[in-house]
């Protein structure tokens, strides 16, 4: 195995002289963490809600008062009064407002006679997220309208008490596991795959192939050096990302040790996958082309940005074999829940097993000749 160490030594000496490689591998995950974290992390505010009051009775005034309370409190909506429902609808279609709340002429009469009073929310459903937020706001508003003025001392209706086990998790913290996994992947691609194919294309591998090195030693050398580079990238982004996202106790010793083990397992599985994909490739353009595709196919189904339960069956199928899935799950356990190895045992086992299988196949497929 001393020849594998020679490959590792060479790769690490080169890596030390190219600090830009590590910087490049961290720019995208960090940018994504910050931009997506803050973009998706906050509540929706200042949606424009048109109110067309065709009733003007006391119950209608109460509905408007409740809407005003939301507008000046949670600021989910900003109210705009319209006299003409036609103009309100035209403005909705033109994107001037996000929804139209119509209080029909018979609302007060039906409300007082308890005869199914109704208000209408016409929403722009081309943006599902805005539409859903608007519907939720108006529903809660109507719920408040329906609430009895006097509250019973002992309520008869069943209620749910939600107990949160962990402190509030901002979205930026939710994204951090995916960002760490992505930084490992970026280093695997830039510092592993792209450099490997470029060296091959420049003829550097010809120099290796004329020595008595074995296929296993060569793949092991590349694999270990790629893993070390990716672990460095992963650890740096773990610490930086934890500070940016405000993770509690980011420098806790035991947590860092667990993280190191997980980052190593993730790096090993991803570098092995990368070598399996690259082992027969000679064209330097190929890894660059595969980069974006692999990133999308591995990152998004993993549950890093959206829960997997919302995916269609085929995407859940990808998630089952995707090493990102296990890495992200384990990072969530360690970062968001501060669990021990018990909670991530299966994830570690899968990542290591996946890495060993990919590395064995890559060794099998590696051509010892040109």
């Amino acid at each position: 195995m001393h020849r594998a160490w020679a490959i590792i030594e060479r790769e690490m000496r080169r890596f030390r002289r190219s600090p830009m490689v590590i910087v490049m591998s961290m720019i995208m995950p960090l940018a994504q963490l910050v931009v997506l974290g803050y973009a998706f992390g906050g509540n929706v505010k200042h949606l424009k809600l048109a109110i067309v009051d065709q009733d003007h009775g006391t119950p209608a005034v109460r509905v408007r008062e409740l809407a005003n309370a939301v507008s000046s409190g949670a600021r989910t909506v900003d109210l705009i009064d319209y006299a003409d429902p036609g103009i309100a609808l035209t403005d909705l279609r033109n994107g001037v407002v996000n929804g139209v709340l119509t209080i029909p002429p018979d609302f007060s009469r039906r409300s007082l006679s308890k005869n199914q009073p109704r208000v209408a929310l016409i929403s722009d459903n081309t943006d599902n997220f805005v539409s859903a937020s608007m519907a939720a706001t108006v529903s809660s508003l109507v719920g408040a309208f329906n609430a009895p003025i006097t509250v019973e001392r002992v309520p008869g209706a069943a209620t749910v008490d939600v107990v949160e086990v962990y402190p509030y998790v901002p979205y930026i913290q939710y994204l951090l596991p995916g960002s760490i996994t992505m930084s490992i992947f970026m280093m695997v691609m830039i510092g592993g795959g792209i450099i490997y194919i470029d060296d091959k294309a420049r003829g550097l591998h010809e120099g290796y192939l004329v020595t008595p090195i074995t296929k296993f030693e060569l793949i092991t050398g590349f694999n270990v050096s790629g893993t070390v580079k990716a672990v460095i990238a992963g650890m740096v982004i773990l610490l930086l990302g934890s500070l940016i996202a405000g993770v509690p106790n980011p420098f806790d010793g035991m947590r860092i040790i667990r993280m190191f083990v997980l980052i190593t397992a993730t790096a090993f599985s991803l570098i092995s996958l990368m070598f399996l994909l690259m082992v027969r490739i000679n064209d330097p353009l190929m890894p660059r082309m595969m980069f974006g595709v692999l990133n999308t196919v591995l990152y998004f189904p993993s549950g890093a940005v959206y829960p997997q339960q919302g995916f269609p069956a085929w995407m859940q199928g990808i998630a089952v074999v995707d090493p990102f899935t296990y890495s992200v799950h384990a990072f969530k356990s360690l970062i968001l829940k501060n669990t021990g190895f018990d909670a991530i045992g299966w994830d570690l086992l899968y990542l290591m097993g996946f890495g060993v299988i990919c590395m064995s196949l890559a060794t099998k497929l590696f051509k010892r000749t040109l």
């Binding site: 002289r17 294309a201 003829g203 020595t211 000679n282 000749t369």
Partner: protein, 329 residues
């Protein structure tokens, strides 16, 4: 003792046959040259001998080891300088040597001594700590030569080692190779498309064209095998009728070829033929416009054996070609 023994070796890439049944042997201690144009099959041949490509047919023994059956033994006993510059530009001269010493399993106690000796031999001692990317093309080639010898091989393969170098660097590399070969009792197999390189460096030359061996001997014997010891090149204005036939009758003339107004006359006695040529021109009422007398060169040998000049050949695409590869042959 035979260091390299090649018998009917063939290499096919799909329907294309790059090497068509070549046989030759190289004595230990010899500098053996494979001379041919780009695409002649030289590099394919050297890649088969260095275990980089498996032969389709035939056998090749290097240091007594079969390149197919005992590839690892072959690899341990040879040093190779591939066609592309394969040194790591980011690493220093010494680091490049160190990594390859480790790849070849050179024991730790021998490494330092060998590296020092080799750096001295290739005159790079004062550059040992510099990154290879800071060195000139000639110096990089010298790094590769040192790197190829770091495990003390018995046979040294060099695939077009001086292509792309300036004339001074090329001469340096030749002198260095001759000195190292003498000091280390090496057998050297070198491919080249430079006639002067093959002429000055090689004990024997194999001329390869279109994947076939067309001639093999020492440079002197090859040159002697071409009709005429000298070549007289002359042009006339105007060119008299049947002038080529008339020139063939001049004393000592072995052969005459023409290209436009320029006549190339192979002769066994350059001065005598030149005098007769001037007399013949005066008698024919034509003016001699240019005249030169040359000794036979390997260019003439190449034209004689292949029927075309070395510079006329174009390179066939190689299976291993790639956008980044610095191909030189």
């Amino acid at each position: 003792m035979i260091a390299i023994d090649v018998k009917n070796i063939v290499k096919k890439f799909g329907d294309f046959t790059a090497v068509k049944g070549i046989s030759f042997s190289v004595e230990a201690g010899e500098i053996f040259g494979l001379l041919g144009p780009n695409g002649a099959g030289k590099s394919t041949l050297i890649r088969m001998l260095t275990t980089l490509l498996p032969p389709t047919e035939g056998t090749a023994l290097v240091n007594g080891f079969d390149v197919k059956q005992r590839a690892d033994d072959v690899r341990r006993s040879i040093g190779v300088i591939p066609q592309a510059m394969t040194s790591d530009l980011e690493l220093s001269v010494e680091e490049n040597l160190l990594i390859f010493a480790k790849l070849y399993g050179v024991p730790r106690d021998k490494r330092k001594r060998l590296m020092n000796e080799l750096l001295e031999a290739v005159e790079l001692t004062q550059w040992r700590d510099k990154p290879v990317k800071m060195l000139s093309g000639g110096m990089r080639r010298r790094v590769e030569i040192a790197r190829g010898l770091v495990h003390e091989p018995r046979v040294f393969f060099l695939d077009e080692p001086t292509t792309g170098l300036d004339p001074v660097s090329r001469t340096n590399v030749w002198e260095m190779l001759q000195r190292i070969k003498k000091e280390r009792d090496l057998t050297v197999l070198i491919t080249t498309h430079y006639m002067d390189e093959a002429d000055k460096l090689c004990d024997r030359i194999a001329i390869v064209d279109h994947g076939q061996l067309v001639a093999l001997d020492s440079p002197l014997t090859l040159k002697a095998s071409v009709p005429g010891q000298n070549f007289v090149e002359a042009s006339f204005s105007p060119t008299p009728e049947n002038w080529e036939e008339r020139l063939k009758t001049l004393p000592f003339v072995a052969a005459v070829t023409s290209e436009g107004r320029v006549f190339r006359i192979a002769t066994d006695n350059g001065p005598a033929t030149t005098t007769a040529l001037m007399d013949a021109a005066e008698a024919a009422g034509t003016t001699l416009q240019s005249l030169s007398v040359q000794s036979t060169t390997l260019d003439d040998v190449f034209v004689h054996y292949t029927g075309h000049a070395l510079r006329d050949s174009i390179q066939a695409p190689s299976a291993a070609d790639s956008p980044f590869m610095i191909r030189r042959g």
